[in-house]
Amino acid sequence: MRGAVAKSAARAEAARLMAHFADAGAVPVETALLQPAETLLDLYGEDIRARAYVTADPLRGEQMLRPDFTVPVVQMHMQSMAEPARYSYAGEVFRKQEMDETRPTEYLQAGFEVFAADDPADRDAEVFSVITNALAPLKLRAVTGDIGVLLAAVQGLATTQARRAALTRHLWRPARFRALLDRFGGRTEAPASRAALLAASDPFAKAGVEVGLRSHAEVAARIHTLRTDAATPPISDEQRALIDAILSLRETAPNVLIALRDISVDLPHVGPAVDRLSARLDALDARGVDVETLAFEGSYGRTSMEYYDGFVFGLYADDRPELPPVATGGRYDALTRVLGQGRGVPAVGGVIRPELVVQLRGGS
């Protein structure tokens, strides 16, 4: 019974949030509970299997119980492409919890998503303030970040495009990113087997019989890439230090802005991203957000699902550190390009977990 009471309290909270989003101009939408697994697997890779329930349909193949709303809402929007568009939704999402049995496997999400090309800084600020205003009485602590600054910093490194692409690909896997940066910086040696391969007069001497789909030409192309990389000078200590400086930022947003302006003197490529951050802070300020005390973390959003590529934020209950963030959100322009086969729409959104809101109000 207690579960049923909690569920209906959470539903009532979701309905309240939907009304709040409607006041902000959102059109309510629905998505299917069962999503084709292929799309989600292609986006997130096999790792999502550890987090989402996969089930099999004899005709449609693998299906996934909706792990979030963003992907189906983007797909729905990409068919109509009406702009600007504001959508709201509320419903169950399902997440496997392999490590911690106390975490729920089924919970509600209420979300607000904006698809609009105009004034991205103000759209970021709009989503942030709609989400935070909905939860204002709970006195949550906001943490913000900007994946766009990191992406720009990596793109601005004075090295080959291949190295920048490898680093960008692993931006969301911090340990792997670090290992790559150390190797490209000449801090760690390449494995002995690679040195031996590149030193060999005939690298294919031990190739033997060719089997499988990956062709001789593909292997040769990678050896060429490895040779080019071996001949590339290391990424300088100064440049690596700039990346570290960005990753270790943990300050109020105005102080971060000052620090990033300094960094952009040595790494001019981040300039436009820093300008966007600056414009966003102005837009947040204009919407009444206390920017002076707003927390910014350079690494924020790196370990979440890898679709955010700009502004990111989360709202936390400081007196309940065991709880996950009550709300999260961010900008995901690149995701819309992937799902739209190259045709993208600037998009930003956020979700709230009604169960957590009810818990924090003392409901259970």
């Binding site: 697997l41 292609d42 890779g45 096999e46 790792d47 299997r49 550890a50 392999e98 490590m99 049995e101 490898a166 690909r169 692993h170 896997r173 340990a175 792997r176 290992a179 494995p191 087997s193 690679r194 391969l197 690298p203 294919f204 031990k206 190739a207 033997g208 019989v209 060719e210 089997v211 499988g212 789909l213 990956r214 001789h216 593909e218 292997v219 192309a221 990678r222 050896i223 890439t225 490895l226």
Partner: protein, 230 residues
């Protein structure tokens, strides 16, 4: 009350388990005819033998339907989430050894490490338009291992047998499978990645942490442990 000991019901794994216990004075044998899956324990009181498929023993241990069980450590890790909170290893038994490894074609002279595999997977996806396929039946272990090592742009395809043949048949680009000598891999023109050892498996005696253990059962276990020199 008796404690239930689950043991593989056939084959070499059963024979070697019987021999391992026998050498320590605990005589396990099938009762009745050879085909009957019922067993008898001599040499120690209050222990009941349950003959099961090795693949089902992890589940029975986790459900607490058997108190002790012998099975491959790979099967426990593959089939039980948070395995170390549900069962405890009492003894590594020194047989049934097999390594769960990742293997790729020998012709991939550019791929020797997981780092190479990851880079090759990225290029493969760009060239072929789909994620590099790794055939396995050990989905959980392989996926955890590749995540921990930061390998991306791959997909697991299920293969319940003849896994080494999937590359030649072009239904997979690489495999993650159990090998003891590596002969089958070589015969299929595959090689093991130098850092591609996912788990070195062997037959292991497990204790269920979820089964009901009465005081009497604990005394029985203590006696058994003395005999088994644990």
């Amino acid at each position: 009350m008796t404690i239930k000991l689950g043991v593989p019901s056939k084959g070499r794994l059963m024979d070697k388990t019987f021999a391992w216990f026998g050498a320590r004075g605990v005589i396990l044998r099938k009762s009745g005819t050879e085909r009957e899956y019922a067993g008898v324990v001599d040499g120690v009181d209050c222990v009941e033998l349950v003959l099961l498929s090795a693949g089902e023993i992890p589940r029975e241990l986790a459900a607490g339907r058997i108190h002790l069980g012998v099975t491959g450590s790979d099967l426990v890790r593959e089939k039980l989430a948070n395995w170390d909170q549900r069962v405890r290893e009492l003894a590594l038994m020194g047989f049934g050894g097999a390594d769960l490894i990742i293997a790729v074609p020998q012709a991939w002279v550019d791929v020797d490490t997981l780092d190479d595999l990851d880079a090759a997977a990225a290029a493969f996806r760009r060239t072929h338009g789909f994620r590099m396929r790794i055939a396995t039946k050990y989905h959980r272990l392989v996926q955890e291992f590749l995540r921990e090592n930061g390998v991306a742009d791959y997909q697991l395809v299920d293969s319940q047998g003849a896994t080494e043949g999937t590359v030649k048949n072009e239904t997979a680009e690489a495999v993650a499978d159990i090998t003891s000598t590596g002969e089958t891999l070589r015969a299929n023109f595959l090689k093991v990645l130098s850092d591609g050892m996912i788990h070195a498996s062997q037959a292991t005696l497990f204790k269920s942490l979820t089964a009901e253990w009465s005081d009497e059962d604990r005394t029985t276990l203590a006696r058994l442990k003395v005999m088994l020199d644990l």
